[in-house]
Symmetry: C2
């Protein structure tokens, strides 16, 4: 299987698609822009979901479910919101054999239908906060799609909260982007920068948007989660007022926040190599595979030994499996399990057993060493932890190595190359994250985007002090420190 | 709150709606026929999901995700299937600002899109079986809806499996209806009859359908889950052939099976009473609530005592909470927690503490007794188990008491009353489950339905032996023993 994967150096985009298809993570579907998530891909999503959901509940959130369809008129109630989403809507015009009086769209996001309900549920400050989350499918009609990273339909969670005060809502938006950061860094092993979006890049309908941004192996940025402070925009659009503690009517303050199956793509792109998928142990359905070396005369003995070892590994809480299929060669099986991204492979042959050890191979580094039989379980546990740590550190080093401070516009153009070069796939190799001062003017932001395709990914929250200098784009006094990059 | 609930004897339908709305399980939405599942309702669904999902995985199934939209032409490939679902479809005609070349429908069920994919994934018997399940939303446009029980959009799981042989597929269909039976009886405490549907009532596109059928408190039947043996119908419609072990091409055998958020409605309707919701401990987010009797002079002491007790209950694995809110009266709080269906209420006042006991009230029976302080945790655990058992036994007794053997058509008409009486809501009170012999002729089945609204719910698998008599509908020699009832 492994030889079907195009090397990254040859064609990065094709490398990614080859891994997704060969590892059977997802497939194209007959529905334009929609993908099928196959069991091995869905298993990754389930583990991400479980970790996210646990943390949402720990922070006081409850799950609910709102309708898939939204009356078209609802979207129009928030001017920026409809502007942002209208071009991407899928529209239901007929149902039950009849044409509908008012068409529905399939939710591209659920602020409007949820705030229409919040109007009925919120009367007093005693009804607040509402801390709701929804696991759902959404649809945004896309012209150019890429498995997991950009599809017309995708699975996600969307949190929608309602608060008494501005401060509480702003704290909530910050709390949830921090939840995302910790899950993405700790469970997915994907390092991210956490910061505020520019006005041009914020969510349609938000006062401001926070995001976490990762760097893929082609040095492009990938937005991995967003959290929006919505102010009173949706409360006003849907007339959601409450009686505050002083007995006066006020508009409710809001946030929304989301992460999606795009995270599965982020994991694949961040860690994998030319042999195939590389998965963090936290997300791997199989953390360890035992591949026995099967020869006719010793087969029974070797399998018996492996079965016993499997039992010990499982008893220690390791998700282990034994590949006892003898219709395939050992070499084919090694390549297959590497391609599927299993973090540890154990090789057990009659000579190993006689020598009192097994061979242990690490998927992330390719290292292979003999481990004494009595130490296999403990070493496997340590190695899984080491892989989890190494994947994060390696990705972080790659990102940091490819992050550069740029101080002027010529430097920016040189860093990103001209947009024209990008189509040849060469320009991206020069780039990465450009950390630069910015005046805050959308005009110079737009100029850079037009000329180089690079955008402001975020203004990292922890890098906004000591700003004393000029905008790298126009030379005016700077207000922010921003990360510029080409993005997925 | 409790006084807002219409008594069952006055209006059973309204009683059900009052409970759903007052206990904040669900709400009506601005989208015709779609409901909002509120957090307390969704929490019930999450527990049902968790238990189902665990059992699916134990029986070797994997989760996947297929597109929401299905090309209209796909539905037309299986003649009975399109016939059954076409009147209920919601249709997307526009997307991304353009009219689509071919309209899509929102999935009413996913056989067609899934078998279109299976065609790509199945070549040889080595690729079989495929044992996939999907958690998803589906849409069937309904004219008359009822919260949880019948809504245009609902959440469900749908299993879709592919097999080498007829026997294997039939075994799978049976295995999964048995999984449903065990979850519904053990976790939901809802007793069911498991049997085969008649031709008239089977799934559109199936060779045969198995179902589990419950009896609600108004003696109407509720179908709680179905499992279909699809034969080779969908394989033929989507041209899914495989090379079998003999090297010959054969069509793939199939099953599909599903349960939905309707199960939440079944739980509510089966166990609740005129005070509100009654929940099995297995599904209750809060299994126990401590209501302290708060008076100014002893408040601090009582709360301290309750906090300590809460900690002990939680440490024992009981989902317990403390209602220390003193803005509401104790009586109001008792009624509120009863209405919300919490299985056990502990009342703790200064006199109780002085006497070395707490008062324990059971939601299912209304019993209340003093429990020695040292025995509270152990008694609470035992009581939760007793409630779980009692709810099932009580519902089973009710069903059995309202199941009668009927031998002739006059008896059937008397049992179900005339259809005309039903609109006054009185006829149903006479009915229940009629167990009767049946010749298998759809003509007499249809006659009964027209005259009494009663249908064949299923032919129980364990009651098909010793059939020696006449059809209760037409007097012809009987072939089956069937359960007839009016149904939701």
């Amino acid at each position: 299987m492994a030889d079907k994967i195009t090397p990254r150096a040859v064609d990065y985009s094709q490398w990614y698609i080859d891994i997704v298809l060969n590892a059977k993570l997802a497939d194209y579907s007959p529905v334009k822009g929609s993908m099928v998530i196959r069991p091995r891909g869905y298993a990754i999503w389930e583990r991400i979901q479980a970790e996210m959901d646990r943390r949402f509940k720990e922070t006081g959130h409850e799950n609910a479910y709102f309708p898939l369809l939204i009356p078209m008129s609802f979207l129009q109630k928030e001017a920026e919101h409809v502007e942002g989403f209208k071009p991407e809507l899928a529209v239901v015009t007929h149902a039950g054999g009849e044409e509908l009086d008012e068409p529905y769209c399939i939710r591209p996001t659920s602020e409007t239908i949820i705030w229409a309900m919040y109007k009925n549920w919120i009367q007093s400050w005693r009804d607040l906060p509402l801390l709701y989350n929804q696991w759902a499918n959404v649809m945004r009609w896309e012209k150019r799609t890429r498995l997991f990273l950009r599809t017309s339909e995708f699975l996600w969670q969307e949190g929608h909260t309602a608060h008494e005060t501005k401060e509480e809502a702003e704290e909530e938006a910050l709390r949830m982007i921090e939840v995302y950061r910790s899950v993405v860094e700790e469970t997915l092993c994907v390092p991210v920068l956490m910061g505020r979006k520019s006005e041009a890049e914020k969510f349609a309908g938000a006062v401001h948007t926070l995001s976490i941004e990762a760097m893929m192996q082609d040095k492009k940025a990938l937005q991995a989660g967003t959290s929006h402070f919505l102010g009173q925009n949706f409360a006003k659009a849907f007339e959601v007022q409450f009686q505050n503690r002083e007995g006066k009517l006020d508009w409710v303050w809001a946030t929304s926040w989301g992460t999606s199956t795009r995270l599965v793509g982020a994991v694949i792109m961040t860690h994998s190599d030319d042999k195939g998928l590389v998965l963090p142990p936290s997300l791997a359905a199989d953390q360890l595979v035992i591949v026995p070396i099967l020869r006719n005369d010793t087969k029974a003995m070797v399998l018996e030994y492996c079965e016993k070892l499997l039992g010990e590994l499982k008893a220690a809480g390791i998700r282990a499996r034994l590949d006892s299929d003898d219709s395939q060669s050992t070499g084919w099986k090694f390549a297959e399990w590497e391609m599927r991204g299993v973090p540890i492979r154990l090789e057990v042959g009659p000579k190993d057993i006689a020598a009192g050890h097994v061979m242990m191979a690490r998927r992330d580094t390719g290292e292979k060493l003999a481990v004494q039989a009595a130490a296999v379980v403990a070493t496997a546990k340590e190695t899984l932890a080491a892989i989890q740590k190494n994947l994060f550190e390696r990705a972080k080093k790659f990102r940091d190595d490819n992050t550069h401070t740029i101080t002027d516009y010529e430097g920016m153009k040189a860093f990103f190359g001209l947009a024209a070069e990008d189509s040849a796939g060469t320009a991206a190799a020069k780039g990465g994250f450009a950390e630069a001062l910015w005046c805050g003017d959308p005009v110079c932001e737009k100029k850079l985007k037009t000329e180089t395709k690079a955008t402001i990914r975020c203004m990292p929250l922890d890098r906004q002090t000591g700003i004393d200098g000029k905008c790298a784009l126009c030379g005016a006094p700077a207000k922010h420190r921003a990360i510029f990059a080409r993005a997925y």
